[in-house]
Every structure is written in C-alpha cells, then in structure tokens.
Amino acid sequence: MDLGTIKERVRKSLTKEKFHRFLFGTKEKQGFLKELSVYALLIAIGFVYLYPVFYMFSTSFMNQADLLDASVKWIPSSLYIDNYIDAAKSMDFWVSLLKGFVIAGIPTILSVVTCMITGYGFASFEFRGKKIMMALLVFSYILPSQVTMIPTYVLYSNMRLTGTIWAFVLPALVANGLNAPIFILIFYQFFKQVPKVLIEAAQIDGAGYWKSFFRIAIPSAGPAILTVFLFCFVWYWNESYLTELYVKGIANSHSFWNNLVIQLKDFDSSFESRATTGGTMTSLNESVRMAATALTILPLLIMYFFMQRHFVESIDRTGITGE
C-alpha cells in the first residue's frame, strides 16, 4: 500500500464521520435530522392550529358561486366583501362592539383593583384563618359556577338587576368576578416576591399599611396589573354563558345589552328575520356566517397582535411556576 491510498482512506472515513455528525449531531450540537424533524413537526402542528382561522377567512370572502364551485377550495375568485357588510348589518356591529367594550371593560377594571387589594392582603400580612381562606379561594375556583348561578339569578331578579350591567359589576366590586381566584393568586404570588424591606422602610418613615400599599406596592406591580387586565378583559369578552344569563337577561328578548359574542350566538335567527323584512340581503350561507365569526374575533385579534408580547410573557411573570 502506498501513501496515496492511505491518505484517500483517511479522508474518506473522515468525511463519513463528518456526515454522520452532521446528521445525528454530537453532545454539544443538535443533529440536522433532529432539527429538521422538530421544525417539520412544529410547522405541521402550527398549520393545524391555524387551519380553522384560515378556513374562516377564506370562506368569508366567497360569494355564492364560489361556494358551489368545487374547483374553488381555498382562494376565492374575487374578494367578495358583501358578506361582511351583511353580517355587520345583521349584528349591529358598531353598537355591539361599543357595548361589548363596556360589558367587558368596567368589570375588568373593578376586578383588577379588588383582586389586587385582596392579593396584597394575603401576601403581606399574617392573620388567623388565613390558611382556611386560601383553601376557600381555591375551592371557589374549582366549584362550577352553575351551583351558585340559580340563587344569584334569583337575587338579581329580586333586585331588578338582570338585564343591566350591574349583574357583572357587583361581583367584580367585591373580588368575586369571573375567574377572580386566579387573579388573586397571581397578585398573591407577585406581591410575595416584592422585597419586604421596601415596605418596611416606608413604614419606618411613617407610612401606614394602606399608604405603603398605594405608594410602593402598586407602582411596582405594573407587569402583574397588565397581565391580569389583559386576561380578565379577554375572558369577560369571550364569556357568553353568564353574559346571556345576567347582563342580557335571558327572559327578555329585546335587551339593551348585547355584545358581539351574544349576537353571534343568535346570528342565524336574527339574520333570517332581517332578511325577510329587508328583502335585499342574500340568503344565509356559510360565507356570511364565517364573516360574522371573523367580525366577532377581529377586535381581539387586533389587540393580540399589538399586545402579544405581554400575553405570551405573562405566564412567566405571574410566578405560577414557582420560584
């Protein structure tokens, strides 16, 4: 064997090893195969996730002919906006949107304030019965709202509050709004992490318990407040079961309070009745319904794209995963 063949062999084995390393990786670096499979999986699952949204938007722009045409599957032949106009008319879009903001907004603000006070109380004071109260808090989260729903409804109808926004405001005012236990726990975790020294220093300088809460605890709680505010708003916005029961008032059909989600729930019947009286609208088909769904989702979708960083990082900040 001469030197040339040996060199050749060495080079061959080296490249083979390199190739192997490239595919399967080493201890330090991920292999190409693994990376590829991870990306492929993520993209596939991501597509599955977005499929309903894609489907919704693509269908909502189709006109009657496109719907019937089997060759049109994803991309409509023309952007047919009349669906949106019809749906918006039927849903009373702008009015419902404004009402939706009120229905979700006012309870959210109250809920944030009261949950913050309660969370701070649990986090920074020792008092008798605290453990029992915390247990009650968790219990009230696990308890389905259907148990308390009927007597609460009776209470509201005795006070003539059904069909008004008070039915949402009152529980929020006493830290018992929608999903309030979660928010109280978030604030509890957050305030536990605020160094006690800060508050003690303020108290030495003569601040009372409430003053040190307002001057020191609240200004440092910015991230937690934002998190709770966003989640609370989204959950109130999307809550249709209790909104229909309390705020719209299930008994009266022509109620003042109607948000987009409720309008979507009654969309079929309201569209039909409007179509028969107006006469000019197209018949109810899936593009109109998808357009209505898209309109319902749209406000939150826009909010999500502007605030997505806060949403996604929120779970980290809440300290739910423990420190």
Partner: protein, 351 residues
C-alpha cells in the same frame, strides 16, 4: 423532662398577641375584607341556598313559592331525563380522555419549543392564539361549519379500527375526540406556556451533570425533566378539567340553564339546582382523581424530616408518660410510707 420544659418555654402563648401583631392582623383583615364579603354574598350563601332549593319544587310566580318534595328532584333526573344522564356519561368520558391528551400534547410542544430553535416567538404566538379567540359561540360556529376537523384526516378509519378491540361506548367517545381534534388541541394554549416557563427554570447544571455521567437525552427526560415539572402537570390537569367544565361546548351546563327556565311545572329552579349539584360533585370527583394520580409525593428529604418529627412527638409523649407515672408512684410511696405500711426489702430474708 428537661426537653419538655424547654419545649414549653419556646411555644408561643396562644390567644394573646403582641401589639404589633394585633395591628398587623387588623390590617390584613381590612385588606381581605372586600373579598370575604364577596365570598359570602356570591359564593357561600348561594351555595347553601341552592343546596336548599334542591329539595323543593319552586314556582316563580309573584315571588318564589316553595313546596317540599324531598329527593324527588334527584330521582326525577335519573328516571325522566335520559338526555342529562347521557350527557353526564359522555362528559366524564370526554374529560378523562381529553385531559391526558391535552397535557401530554402541551408538554411535547413545550419541550420542542424549549430547544434551540429559531422563530420561537412566532411559534409561541401561534400556539397561544386560540386562548384569545376561543369563546362558546365562535367555537360552535367553527364546529358547525366543519372548520374544526381536517378533511385530510380520515377519522372514520380510525374509529372503525378502535371499534375492533374496544367496547362501543369508548370507541364512540374516541371517535368524537378525533373528529374534533383541532378543538382539543386549541384548548392547550395556556398549558403550553405554563410548561414552557417551568422548563426554562430548570437548572441547566443538572443536565450537564447527568451528561457527564453518561446519561442520554431520554434518561434525562425521565429522571430530571419529568420529576421537576411534576407539580406543573398537576396544575395543568386541574386547569384543563375546570376549563372543560365551564366551557360552553359542554352541553351539560346548557341543559342546566334550559331546565332553569323551563316553563313546565316539573322543572324550574329546584330541578336545575339538583342538576347543578350532581354536576359539581362530578367535577370535584374528577379533580380529586387527578389529584390522587398526580399529587406529588414529597421528595425523600421531606419525608425524612416528617418521619423524624413524628418520632420526636412519640418520644415526647413517652417522656411525658414516664414523668406522670413517676410523680404518681412517688405520691403512692409517700402515702404508704406515712401509713407505715411500706417496708423496703433489706435483704435479710424475712420481711
């Protein structure tokens, strides 16, 4: 005895508090008082009331008119309302099937996102999107228009395959599960984020040490990752159960609502209350099942500490008993000596 005395001294006097502690306690109550009122008015009192309603037929005519009927509301549900029973069965099956799927799926996604990948932000954005837009009517719309299932995924084949070797009831549930697979996956947004942030808090030194000792990725997952995030698995499971139970896709809660406003004399508030109680007991049982399955047994160190404490308490009790007995015996001996009836054995042989 010495040990006892020290312990007694160290124990805080119960009942009376110092001035500062008293002040702190008052401040704490003042902060929490809002919530206590709310808890009473909107949770505890209504709970008792609906428990009370359960045993009555209630007519809502010029105020509520109660007639006591005993357990007949409950028996009526079981006998005359096959729809409710059926929905309960399917709810239990669906929850027990969906929760593990959602949790495992969320864990897999979180682990993939936790690796070194580009565009992590975009993927997180996509996986969290459903949390924002999910609401009852929107879901109903999407499901009814067939956007919830992928046509390319032939669920019929899957179901018939399951039908071969599983009872029909379970196979059917699996079928509906596969039919709405996207919706099931859509419910896992929050869980993914919880897992992701838990994974990022694991000390990388642990993995390094394991790799030094020759551990593979697979072993690292089972021996390090899983034990560390075990509490999070429990949290996610409970969150999922609660979410599924209060979600409007769940037919049970709609049934309760319709029963509540039913115009017939047999239904109404009392009947709906009975339904709600059955339902909530069910939910609680499911939560407890997951607690029992996933509830973290404390780690070895904690267990040792607990054992040691238990031993200490036992020793203390023995010490106390010995003390008590010695006092009693001393008193006895004293008494007998005073009577002159007590003689000690002096070793002489006769006494």
């Amino acid at each position: 005895m010495n040990l006892l005395a020290i312990k007694k001294k160290n124990k805080k006097p119960k009942g009376k508090l110092g001035k500062l502690e008293r002040k702190q306690e008052l401040a704490g109550y003042s902060f929490v008082s809002i919530w206590i009122i709310g808890m009473l008015v909107f949770t505890l009192i209504p709970m008792c009331q609906s428990f009370y309603y359960m045993w009555f037929k209630i007519k809502a005519r010029n105020g509520l008119q109660f007639t006591y009927v005993g357990t007949s509301n409950i028996t009526q549900i079981w006998i005359e309302d096959p729809d409710f029973i059926q929905q309960i069965a399917s709810y239990v099956w669906q929850t027990l099937l969906q929760v593990p799927i959602i949790v495992v799926f969320a864990l897999i996604i979180a682990i993939m996102l936790n690796g070194k990948i580009n565009f992590r932000g975009i993927f997180r954005l996509i996986f969290f999107l459903p949390v924002i837009i999910v609401s009852g009517p929107v879901m109903n719309m999407l499901v009814s228009e067939g956007a919830a299932s992928i046509p390319a995924l032939n669920t019929q084949a899957v179901v018939s395959a399951f039908d071969m070797f599983l009872p029909t009831a379970i196979a059917q549930q699996l079928g509906t599960l596969f039919g709405n697979m996207i919706m099931t996956l859509w419910y896992s947004g929050v869980q993914i984020l919880i897992f992701l942030s838990a994974l990022q808090k694991i000390d990388p030194g642990l993995y390094e040490a394991a790799k030094m000792d020759g551990g593979s990725d697979w072993e690292c997952f089972w021996k390090i990752t899983l034990p560390t995030i075990k509490p999070m698995i429990l949290i996610n499971a409970v969150y999922t159960v609660i979410f599924l139970s209060s979600n409007e896709q769940n037919q049970l809660i709609n049934l309760i609502k319709t029963a509540m406003f039913s115009a017939t004399a047999e239904r109404g508030y009392g009947y709906a209350s009975a339904m709600a109680w059955i339902y909530s007991i069910l939910v609680t049982i499911i939560v407890l099942i997951f607690f029992a399955l996933l509830g973290s047994k404390k780690d070895v160190y904690d267990r040792m500490v607990k054992k040691r404490k238990r031993l200490e308490i036992k020793e203390e009790r023995i010490a106390r008993r010995v003390e008590r007995r010695s006092v009693r015996n001393a008193r006895k001996i004293e008494r007998q000596r005073q009577k002159g009836m007590f003689r000690t054995y002096d070793g002489s042989g006769d006494y």
